[in-house]
C-alpha cells in the first residue's frame, strides 16, 4: 500500500514541492505587496507611509497578519453561517489553484498543461463566487449590493479580457503557457509589440476583474462601506484580501506570459545585449549596498540587525544570480542560469505590471457604475472583437505565399491592422461623445 502510494506520487514530487513553496510564500508576498502599495501611495502623496514596525516599515505585513489573527471573529446573527464560512475560502483557493499553470521560469512551473491559459482563466474566475456568495451570506444590504456589482462587472469585463487573450493566443498558436513564451522567443518579439491594442484591453479588463481602483465599485467605501466584505472581520477578512492580491498576481502573470515575453530577458535573442545578464546581479548588489548604508542610521538595535539581514539576503540573491555569469563553462552553475534568471525576469515583469496597477489606482478617481458598464460594453468589447479580427488578417497577410498568404512583412501587416483597430476605437469614442448623456443609472 505504502509502496504503491510512493509509486503514485514519485513523478509528482517536484510539482508538489513547488506547490508547497507557492502556498507557503503567497501570504508573505501578498503582505509585502500590500506594504508596497502603501509605500507607493505614500510616495505619490508625498508622505512616508508605514515607518514604525521594522526599518522603513518592513515588518508591517507581519504585524498586520498577527493583529488580524488575534482579532475577534464575528459572524452576524442572521448570516448564512455555512456559506459565510465557505466564501472567503473559495476566493483564496481559486486564486491559489490558478497559480498551478503559471510558468515562473523555464523550470519553475507546477504543471505545463495543454490548456494552461484557459485553466488560469477558468479557475481564476471561480474566485468571483467567493465575493458573490460572501456578499449574499452576510445578509446585509451593503454586502449584497457589492456582490451584485462585482458579478455584473466581472461578467461584463471577462468577455473583453477573453477576446484580448484570444489575440495573443492567435499569435502564439497554442494555449500552453510555456508554449506561448517559447513562441515569443522563437518569433524574436514580445506580443505586446504585435498586439498593443490587445494588451491595453487586457490591462483595463484585468483591473476591472480584480476589483481594483478605478473600477473598485464592489467595495466603494464612500457608497457601500466596504462592499461585499462589510460584515467580515478578523482573519476571514484577511483571507479576502489574500485572495484579492493573489488574483492580482495571477492576472499580472497572465499578462506577463502572454504579452511581455514571460521569463525572457529583454532582447533575449540579440547577443550584443548580453550584458543585460549582469543586470539582475547588479540590481541585487545595489539593494544590498543601500541597505548596508542605511543600517547604522536606524534608531533601534533590532532595526539595525534587520537591515543587515536584508542586505545579507540581497547579497545571497546577487551571488545566486551572478554565479552563472562567472562560473567556468560546463559547470552546474551555468546549467542553472536559465532557471534562475528566468524567474528573476518573470518576477520583475510581474512587479512592473503590479506597479502599473498601483499607479493607476492613485491617479484616477473611481468610475460611476453606468460609466463602467458603458466603457465595458460600448468600447472595450467591440474594439476587442475588431482587434481579434485584425490580428487574424495580419497573420494571414504576413504568411509567405507558399503557405497561402500574401507575404507582407510582419511590421506592415501588423501596423495596418493595428491602425485599423485604433480608427474603429476612435470612431466609437467620438460617437459616444456626441451621443446625449444618459441619466445616471441609479439601479446599482
Amino acid at each position: 500500500m505504502l509502496n504503491s502510494l510512493y509509486e503514485f506520487f514519485k513523478p509528482h514530487l517536484l510539482p508538489l514541492l513547488f506547490a508547497l513553496v507557492i502556498v507557503a510564500l503567497l501570504p508573505l508576498v501578498a503582505g509585502y505587496v500590500v506594504l508596497l502599495e502603501r509605500k507607493v501611495m505614500a510616495d505619490m502623496q508625498a508622505r512616508l507611509g508605514p515607518m514604525r514596525v521594522g526599518p522603513h516599515g518592513l515588518l508591517q505585513p507581519i504585524a498586520d497578519a498577527l493583529k488580524l489573527l488575534i482579532k475577534e471573529d464575528i459572524i452576524p446573527e442572521n448570516a448564512d453561517k455555512w456559506i459565510f464560512w465557505l466564501a472567503p475560502l473559495t476566493s483564496v483557493a481559486a486564486a491559489m489553484l490558478a497559480m498551478a499553470a503559471i510558468p515562473f521560469g523555464p523550470f519553475f512551473q507546477i504543471a505545463d498543461l495543454n490548456i494552461g491559459l484557459l485553466f488560469i482563466l477558468g479557475i481564476g474566475s471561480m474566485g468571483l463566487f467567493g465575493i458573490v456568495l460572501g456578499g449574499w451570506a452576510s445578509n446585509s444590504h451593503y454586502s449584497l449590493l457589492g456582490a451584485l456589482r462585482s458579478a455584473a462587472q466581472l461578467v461584463s469585463y471577462e468577455t473583453a479580457a477573453g477576446m484580448a487573450i484570444v489575440s495573443g493566443v492567435l499569435l502564439g498558436g497554442t494555449l500552453s503557457t510555456r508554449g506561448l513564451v517559447e513562441a515569443q522567443a522563437s518569433g524574436h518579439v514580445w506580443f505586446i509589440f504585435v498586439a498593443p491594442v490587445g494588451f491595453f484591453i487586457y490591462l483595463v479588463a484585468s483591473i476591472a476583474e480584480t476589483n481594483r481602483a478605478p473600477f473598485d465599485l464592489p467595495e466603494a467605501e464612500s457608497e457601500l462601506v466596504a462592499g461585499y466584505m462589510t460584515e467580515y472581520s478578523g482573519f476571514r477578512w484577511a483571507l479576502y484580501f489574500l485572495g484579492e492580491y493573489a488574483n492580482m498576481i495571477v492576472v499580472a502573470s497572465i499578462a506577463t506570459t502572454l504579452f511581455l515575453g514571460g521569463w525572457l530577458r529583454p532582447f533575449s535573442s540579440w547577443h550584443k545585449a548580453d550584458f543585460l545578464d549582469y543586470f539582475p546581479m547588479l540590481l541585487m548588489l545595489l539593494v544590498a549596498g543601500y541597505s548596508l548604508y542605511r543600517a547604522p542610521k536606524q534608531p533601534v538595535a533590532v532595526q539595525k540587525i534587520f537591515m543587515v539581514a536584508v542586505a545579507g539576503l540581497c547579497f545571497l540573491l546577487a551571488v545566486v544570480l551572478g554565479l552563472p555569469q562567472f562560473a567556468p563553462a560546463g559547470s552546474a552553475f551555468v546549467a542553472m542560469k536559465p532557471g534562475v534568471h528566468g524567474a528573476f525576469w518573470f518576477l520583475l515583469k510581474v512587479g512592473v505590471y503590479l506597479y502599473l496597477f498601483l499607479w493607476l489606482r492613485f491617479t484616477f478617481p473611481r468610475f460611476r457604475f453606468d460609466q463602467l458598464m458603458k466603457v465595458g460594453w460600448h468600447l472595450l468589447i467591440p474594439v476587442s472583437i475588431v482587434n481579434v479580427f485584425g490580428i487574424g488578417v495580419a497573420l494571414y497577410l504576413h504568411r509567405s505565399p507558399e503557405q497561402g498568404g500574401y507575404g507582407w512583412g510582419m511590421i506592415s501587416s501588423v501596423g495596418v491592422t493595428t491602425l485599423f483597430t485604433l480608427l474603429i476605437a476612435a470612431w466609437l469614442l467620438k460617437k459616444h461623445e456626441q451621443a446625449p448623456a444618459t441619466p445616471a443609472a441609479e439601479k446599482f
Partner: protein, 172 residues
C-alpha cells in the same frame, strides 16, 4: 487504483450534489450544489484526459452560467420564496417515469450483453501520452467534419442574442 478512487469520488460527489440541488429549499444552496455537481463532472472529464472539455465546463457552466444564475437568485426575495410551496408534488408520475427509465437502462445492458461476446462499454484504455492533444482534436473536428452543425449552432446562438437585445430594447 487511484484512478478508480478518483472516479468514484467525483461520481459520488456529482450524484449527491445533484440530489441536494433538488431537495434544498434555499435557492442559493441549490445553486451551490449545482456548482459542485458541475465541477465534479468536470473532474471526470479531466480524469479521461479531456482537458479541453474540463476547462470549457468550468469556464462556461461554472464561471459563466452559474454566475448569472446566482446573480438572478440573489435578486429574488428569498424570505418569501422559502416559505412558499415550491414543488408540484406528483409522486406517481415521477415514480412511473423513473421505473420506465430504469427499465430502459437495464434493457440496454441486458441485450447488449446477450448479443455480443465482448462486454459493452469496455474500451481499451489508451495511454494519455499516446493521444493527440484534446484541444486541437476538438478544434479540427469541429471545423472540418462538423462544420455545418457547428455553424448552425452558432447562428442559433446569434439569433438568441439578437432576440434578447431586441426584447431588452423595447422595454426602455
Amino acid at each position: 487504483m487511484f484512478d478508480t478512487i478518483g472516479f468514484y469520488f467525483f461520481a459520488g460527489l456529482a450524484v449527491i450534489s445533484a440530489v441536494l440541488v433538488v431537495t434544498r429549499r434555499n435557492a442559493v444552496h441549490s445553486a451551490i450544489f449545482l456548482i459542485t455537481a458541475l465541477l465534479a463532472t468536470a473532474g471526470i472529464f479531466l480524469q479521461l484526459h479531456a482537458e479541453f472539455l474540463f476547462i470549457v465546463q468550468v469556464i462556461l457552466y461554472v464561471g459563466g452560467i452559474m454566475v448569472l444564475f446566482v446573480f438572478v437568485i440573489m435578486l429574488v426575495n428569498l424570505d418569501v420564496a422559502i416559505h412558499q410551496m415550491q414543488f408540484n408534488r406528483m409522486w406517481l408520475v415521477a415514480l412511473l417515469l423513473t421505473i420506465a427509465l430504469g427499465a430502459q437502462v437495464y434493457m440496454v445492458f441486458h441485450y447488449a450483453h446477450a448479443g455480443m461476446t465482448e462486454p459493452l462499454f469496455h474500451l481499451q484504455p489508451a495511454r494519455a501520452s499516446d493521444l493527440e492533444p484534446n484541444t486541437e482534436l476538438i478544434g479540427a473536428t469541429l471545423f472540418s467534419q462538423y462544420m455545418l452543425p457547428f455553424e448552425i449552432a452558432s447562428i442559433l446562438l446569434l439569433v438568441a442574442m439578437i432576440g434578447a437585445v431586441v426584447m431588452a430594447k423595447r422595454k426602455v
